[in-house]
């Protein structure tokens, strides 16, 4: 894609309707776009779709209506249920209740192949291409044209070329290895795969996230060509500017529910969109803040000029003993990477991390733990837990060596310590010999946090501590975090839920695109201000308009 010189397509608001007759001469069956795309027939209708996972209601009554030839934008914060919704539509998950109507028929897709056959293609953020196969092989992966069991390579290459032409990228050679293509080119191949299935609906999950700014224009041009051919697109993005430019209608999700459906993408005021995204449907129960929170003790953690190229740059921050510092930011703002770098799980390229005045060895988790840091990482299951092992062994994972005598572990002592933690965190079920696998998300998180309550943790790094945690357990976790701070533990908290950061933290840092754009006491910020900062300048423009 980058090889191709493309004019600034980004500019004019080419209405999808304009492109009705524009379909390139291709033998694939084209659906004539109706005069007014938004008035096209309804291809997809979701009614009251519910999907629950252990401990969390990921979808809690979703309504969605998508018409042929439109770009329907899905808007929502992290954890609002967008990913689950995509997975329901693409046949990865089956809804617990509610109806999915596809082209007039109620359907349930038993697997992704069924959804694909029915004409729903999904382009995930992390493109699911086979890097060492050619463009054509990827486009027709799993349904290669065959004769007598042999792949008709020539035929496949020809059809791939046609599809690429239809996408306006005839310059990509079908026999080129996908590995050698730039990110934008790979995205085109993903779309070619969708078209090779005669997709009638293409779901794009943050397609612009992997693209450079000028490549986004190209993406939009392709989307317009697709919609002009009558294909419906569900477009997911955090960037409001893109939604304004490419979208026809917007549906907003919040906590697994549709809070607004079919808003006009261009004319709905930004304030409306933002309040629908953030309007509180979850009651956040924050514990009372101890009155007169004195500015606590000395600096515990001091980070200066920390940098990792492509992730974050020149970040400085400090956390005092007994202080809760919150970092607000979206996925991709560099917040999780920052936390992991402070912890030594990633090696800083520049800058220093000091604990109690002493510089920590970069890239060494051991050094950080010895200095009194503990971390509850973003992905509980893959980064923090031994799922098949008993609860107590997970609680003592960072401390079992302390209880050991001459290298011999003390199982009785470990269980006693874990029991103490289980009591204080109100762990359910209470039996610490059960495997961690059997716990709900909230209780698993308590195990991870509880791990650092043993030993002498001075600073706790929490990355999305309440993701996938139900409301009750949330309140309990907040209580635990607050009382830790009252005991003098410093807490550095990352969350994409702005109310959580504001309600829990004493001081807030807002991160965007790898930089701290604002630092202030939590009392001086409100949700909308933070969201404006988090969602880049586009929102400010929108708000001004």
């Amino acid at each position: 894609m980058s090889e191709r010189e493309e004019g600034a397509v980004t500019g004019g608001h080419a209405s999808p309707a304009d492109g009705g007759a524009e379909g390139p001469g291709v033998d694939a069956p084209l659906v004539e776009a109706p005069a007014d795309a938004v008035a096209g027939e309804v291809v997809l209708r979701l009614t009251d779709v519910v999907k629950t996972f252990p401990g969390v209601r990921a979808l809690d009554g979703v309504q969605l209506e998508v018409r042929a030839g439109e770009v329907h934008c899905l808007l929502g914060q992290n954890g609002a249920g967008k990913s689950t919704l995509i997975k329901v539509l693409s046949g990865v998950h089956r809804p617990d209740s509610g109806q999915v109507e596809w082209r007039g028929q109620p359907v349930t897709f038993p697997n992704p192949q069924a959804a694909m056959r029915a004409g729903i293609a999904t382009i995930y953020q992390e493109l699911d291409l086979v890097e060492d196969l050619s463009v054509a092989e990827n486009a027709f992966l799993g349904h290669e044209p065959r004769r007598f069991g042999f792949v008709r390579r020539g035929h496949m290459a020809r059809r791939t070329r046609q599809i690429l032409g239809r996408l306006g990228h005839a310059e990509i050679p079908p026999n080129r290895m996908v590995r050698s293509l730039p990110a934008a080119g790979k995205q085109v191949v993903s779309m070619a795969r969708a078209l090779s299935h005669e997709a009638r609906l293409i779901i794009m999950d943050e397609p612009s996230a992997v693209l450079a700014h000028d490549e986004v224009g190209n993406l939009f041009r392709i989307i317009r060509e697709l919609t002009a051919q009558g294909i419906a697109v569900i477009y997911i993005s955090h960037r409001l500017e893109e939604i304004r430019e490419i979208g026809d209608r917007v549906t907003v999700l919040k906590d697994g529910r549709t809070t607004a459906a079919n808003l006009p993408a261009r004319d709905t005021p930004t304030r409306d969109l933002v309040s629908r995204m953030t309007g509180r449907t979850i009651e956040y129960v924050f514990p009372e803040r101890a009155a007169a929170a004195e500015p606590a003790g000395a600096d515990l953690l001091e980070v200066r000029g920390l940098t990792r190229s492509g992730e974050f740059a020149d970040v400085s921050l400090r956390v005092r003993a007994g202080e809760i510092v919150g970092i607000a930011g979206l996925v991709g703002s560099g917040r999780s990477e920052l936390l992991e770098t402070i912890y030594g799980a990633r090696r800083a390229e520049a800058g220093t991390v000091r604990m109690g005045g002493r510089v920590l060895r970069p890239g060494s988790v051991g050094a950080a733990v010895r200095a009194g840091m503990g971390m509850a990482p973003e992905e509980r299951k893959s980064q923090a837990l031994l799922l098949g092992e008993p609860i107590y062994r997970n609680v003592t994972l960072a401390t079992f060596a302390r209880y050991a005598r001459a290298g011999f572990t003390d199982a009785g002592r470990e269980r006693a310590e874990a029991d103490r933690i289980a009591d204080s965190l109100e762990l359910r079920p209470r039996d610490v010999r059960r495997p961690v696998r059997t716990l709900s998300g909230g209780n698993q998180q308590k195990v991870v946090v509880g791990r650092w309550l043993l030993g002498d943790t001075k600073l706790l790094l929490l990355d999305e501590p309440t993701r996938g945690v139900d409301v009750g357990a949330r309140a309990e976790l907040y209580q635990v975090i607050r009382s830790l701070a009252e005991q003098g533990v410093g807490v550095l908290l990352v969350s994409s839920e702005v109310p959580e950061v504001l309600g829990l933290a004493d001081r807030v840092l807002v991160m965007r695109e790898g930089r701290v754009v604002r630092e202030a006491p939590a009392g001086e910020l409100d949700e909308n201000t933070v969201l404006d900062l988090v969602m880049a300048g586009s929102l400010m423009e929108g708000a001004a308009a």
């Binding site: 980064q383 199982a411 009252e486």
Partner: protein
């Protein structure tokens, strides 16, 4: 947290554990969980592992029953039964020692294909004329050092050189046998040391010394896996390396130690095998890696790491040597024997998969009720 400022009003805070590391033993006992602590000595391998081991014992009993049915004449003689039992254990002893090391490596998420080659190299090195001139002590020291050293090289390549364990140890397999052939000049080196040779022929209290060595290694391995921080790290590193790393465990160093341990076990096995043959050569201990891996797998060690038991591995080795023995007393070919072994490996893994799947189904059903 050396000093904790108590907030007097905060009742809830008091419920949180004190942050001070030294916990008074009396306080621990007062917590009332001392009783559960005492159970831990025999619960070591875990309930699920114990159940799997019962299955293996069932297989063993079945094999013995087949033996009784096919050769009732032999099994009628009680002195033969005892000596045959010792024969089986002796047969299992060398591979058994190697399997203990292999079990650690596999639980830790790796694989060691070079064990047979390490045994051969250590055996050959220990029986060179120069080494033999230092006597039995020198020969044992040489074998153990060579085993440990080669294991360390494996570990360095894998943990710090970031080679895939399969590739690193495959390369070592080839290289170590090559070096063994070079040192021995492709000749069989006879051991003239009577102390070494007597290791294989000595009986204590009517039981061969080799069986005592196997028992010692198995017991040491069991204690190491179930009772020490080393064992806990092994399970953590194999079960979820990222979680282990983020909990402050030095995953690389531990991986290195696991391969060193495997190498050390090979050194011990080299002495045992050399004593049995009263010689060493580059082709000795051929395909031991496959026997050891197969024994660990049918013993219930998860090839992807994080789960496994020493007792299971021991039972795996004994099952294999019982099959060999069963074919020998019936005068059947080793070819048929290998086919049966292959079948047993497949059957054991299939049985475990079914067992595991039903277990996960059970857990996922129950998970909904525990939230």
């Amino acid at each position: 947290m050396s000093e904790v400022t108590e907030t007097p009003a905060a009742e809830r805070a008091a419920k949180l554990p004190a942050q001070s590391p030294p916990v008074d033993p009396a306080e621990t006992a007062a917590a009332g969980h001392a009783a559960t602590g005492r159970l831990s000595w025999w619960r070591g391998d875990g309930g699920e592992g114990a159940r799997r081991n019962l299955g293996l014992i069932g297989v063993l009993v079945a094999l013995i029953v087949i033996g009784i049915v096919t050769r009732p004449d032999l099994y009628g003689d009680s002195s033969w039964v005892w000596s045959n039992f010792l024969t089986i254990l002796k047969l299992a002893s060398v591979v058994g020692v190697v399997t203990v090391g292999m079990t650690f490596v596999i639980i830790g998420g790796g694989i060691d294909l070079s064990v047979g080659a390490i045994v051969a190299l250590a055996g050959v090195w220990a029986t060179t004329v120069a080494t033999q001139s230092y006597g039995a002590g020198g020969m044992i020291f040489c074998a153990l050092t060579v085993g440990l050293g080669v294991g360390l090289v494996n570990g360095l390549l894998i943990s710090y050189g970031r080679l895939v364990p399969f590739i690193a140890t495959l390369a070592m397999l080839v290289a170590a046998r090559g070096l063994a052939a070079e040192i021995s000049n492709k000749q069989t080196q006879v051991s003239d040391n009577n102390t070494i040779n007597s290791i294989a022929s000595t009986n204590l209290l009517g039981i061969p010394l080799l069986v005592y060595i196997l028992a010692a290694v198995v017991i040491a391995g069991w204690v190491l896996l179930n009772r020490t921080t080393f064992g806990r790290r092994t399970v953590a590193v194999g079960g979820n390396p990222e979680a282990a790393r983020l909990a402050g465990i030095n995953v690389k160093r531990h991986t290195l130690l696991l391969y060193a341990l495997s190498g050390l076990c090979c050194g011990i096995a080299a002495i045992m095998l050399t004593a049995q043959a009263t010689s060493a050569q580059a082709a000795m201990a051929n395909l031991y890696e496959l026997d050891a891996i197969a024994a660990a797998i049918i013993g219930g060690t998860l090839l992807s790491g994080g789960r496994g038991t020493i007792i299971g591995s021991l039972l795996g080795v004994i099952i294999f040597s019982t099959i060999t023995n069963l074919f020998a007393i019936n005068g059947l070919s080793t070819e048929a024997q290998n086919m049966v072994k292959g079948g047993i490996i497949v059957a054991a893994v299939l049985v475990q998969q079914v067992h595991f799947r039903s277990l996960t189904q059970f857990l996922s059903r129950n998970r909904l009720t525990t939230t």
